[in-house]
């Protein structure tokens, strides 16, 4: 892990004594962006503009890249995190680690 990533992790991850899961917000954001953009485009069959609006979350750090032919979506954030999702017919979209 490089220093930039470590700093971002500290900034984005939660602190405190409540039960916390081992995720940071950027990691969640790319996975949410990839999966929900895929579902929005290929299951709900909305436009790219509609899906950009539908999938917007806070922090809005993730950007989606769409492979229309393969029906896959890759999302990236801050040049450090990435996630992919793929469309699988009536089973919709699934995160594809």
């Amino acid at each position: 892990m490089n220093a930039r990533k470590a700093l971002l992790l500290l900034a984005l991850a939660g602190c405190g004594d409540e039960k916390a899961y081992d995720n940071n917000d950027a990691e969640l954001a790319v996975r949410q962006k990839a999966k929900e953009t895929c579902s929005c485009l290929f299951v709900m069959e909305l436009s790219e503009a509609q899906c950009t609006a539908w999938t917007k979350v806070t922090p809005n750090v993730a950007k989606a890249t769409i492979d229309w032919e393969a029906k896959r979506v890759q999302a990236t954030a801050l040049g450090l995190w990435a996630a992919r999702a793929r469309f699988d017919g009536r089973a919709g979209c699934v995160i594809d680690d």
Partner: protein, 383 residues
């Protein structure tokens, strides 16, 4: 001490309901091959309904106010009102969010009718685990009463604390059911209601195990979607192949109305029984875990009453609770999902109401007002 009492109540409710259940109705309209349509002409009730549901405020990116994407109103088996907004059309599937939980409950019902499982079965009968949570039953999961330690939080609290977000997008997303089952125990099963998307996902895995590998990939369609003609239905899975029963059904509003209509007609379709006798009655009765102890969240909000993966308008005198939606009859029940997804079923009005939406502003949509306006709409169609 509460556990045997809860189980007995569940069994008795189902038996009593089964005795009271009538045969499948034969003198009703079925939406086969398609919905009959009897659109209402314009009038004050239609205008008031539309003004409430389809008046947008602010710029779209501000996500303010009521943001309706689709509405289908089915009265006496015919669509009397249908409209779409915000770029949606009749052909677009919509994410149902937690309406999916009610859909899943129907799949469990069909499996019970087939003899694949019972509500009294231990989850470990069908989803092998170590012994720690084997006292959880299928019925406990249907009641959101597993007792597993779960934080049902969404966007309004830190993501790292939310069990749901961890399950859908984080550390739990590869194998969601295993993630849920790995949570510690907060209560003994059946002794307290605690709304949990985790219970619903675990139920999906238990159901798949009961049905066996031959149906594990196809049961939503084999058991429910195909028999009632939900041709648009999509049901997403996690990477382990478990259907995400908490939140991942997509369908058009017209097909979601088919699902509501199945419950309006007591689990029958075209005169044939799809769900066991008494299943709808048990689904729409305050559940045993809730009656044993409502969750603190429910005590705070005094919202709709949980049935078995459904939400009820029924009063609960023992909790000094009146109907949540005062403008609607007490027999009203609903499948409710995030951002305003709803299917309301009102048997005494012969009415199914489907609304898909993108309400991001918390609390802006007034379900009581919506029900009042919808009932006025149906009244214009006659009794």
């Amino acid at each position: 001490m509460l556990r045997p009492i809860s189980l007995s109540c569940a069994a008795l409710c189902l038996l009593a309901s089964a005795e009271a259940a009538a045969a499948c109705p034969t003198d009703v309209v079925w939406p086969e091959p398609a919905w009959a349509e009897a659109p209402l002409p314009g009038g004050p009730a239609v205008e008031a309904f539309e003004e409430y549901l389809f008046t947008l405020v602010g710029a779209d990116e501000e996500r303010l106010g009521i943001r309706t994407d689709g509405v289908v109103v089915v009265h006496r088996g015919r669509i009397i009102y249908e409209r779409y907004g915000r770029g949606f059309a009749q052909r677009n599937r919509h994410l149902a969010w937690s309406v999916s939980k009610s859909v899943l409950s129907a799949m469990v019902g069909v499996a019970v009718l087939r003899g694949d499982l019972t509500v009294e079965d231990s989850i470990c009968d069908h989803y092998p685990q170590d012994g720690e949570i084997c006292d959880v039953t299928v019925g406990d999961l249907l009641d959101w009463g597993s007792g597993l330690d779960w934080n049902e939080g969404y966007e309004d609290e830190p993501y790292y604390l939310s069990s749901v977000i961890a399950m859908l997008y984080g550390v739990g997303s590869v194998d969601m059911a295993a993630f849920v089952a790995g949570h510690g125990r907060a209560h003994r099963p059946g002794t307290m209601h605690r709304y949990s998307s985790g219970d619903s996902v675990l139920l999906s895995a238990v159901l798949a195990g009961a049905l066996g590998p031959g149906l594990a990939d196809s049961y939503p369609w084999e058991l429910v979607f195909d028999p009632i003609g939900m041709e648009s239905a999509v049901f997403e899975r996690d990477q382990a192949g478990t259907f995400v029963g908490s939140s991942s059904v997509y369908a058009t509003p017209r097909d979601l109305a088919r699902f509501g209509y199945l419950f309006l007609r007591d689990g029958c379709w075209e005169g044939e029984r799809i769900l066991p006798e008494g299943w709808v009655a048990a689904s729409t009765t305050p559940n045993p875990s809730f009656l044993a102890q409502p969750s603190p969240d429910w005590e705070r909000d005094r919202g709709a009453v949980p049935g078995r993966h459904w939400w009820l308008n029924a009063p609960v005198p023992e909790l000094m609770h009146e109907s949540r939606w005062q403008t609607a009859p007490p027999d009203t029940f609903a499948a409710l999902g995030h951002w305003g997804q709803t299917i309301f079923v009102i048997p005494s009005a012969d009415l199914v109401l489907v609304r898909t939406a993108d309400d991001r502003e918390t609390g802006v949509f007034d379900r009581e007002r919506y029900l009042e306006l919808a009932l006025a709409l149906a009244a214009e169609d006659g009794p």
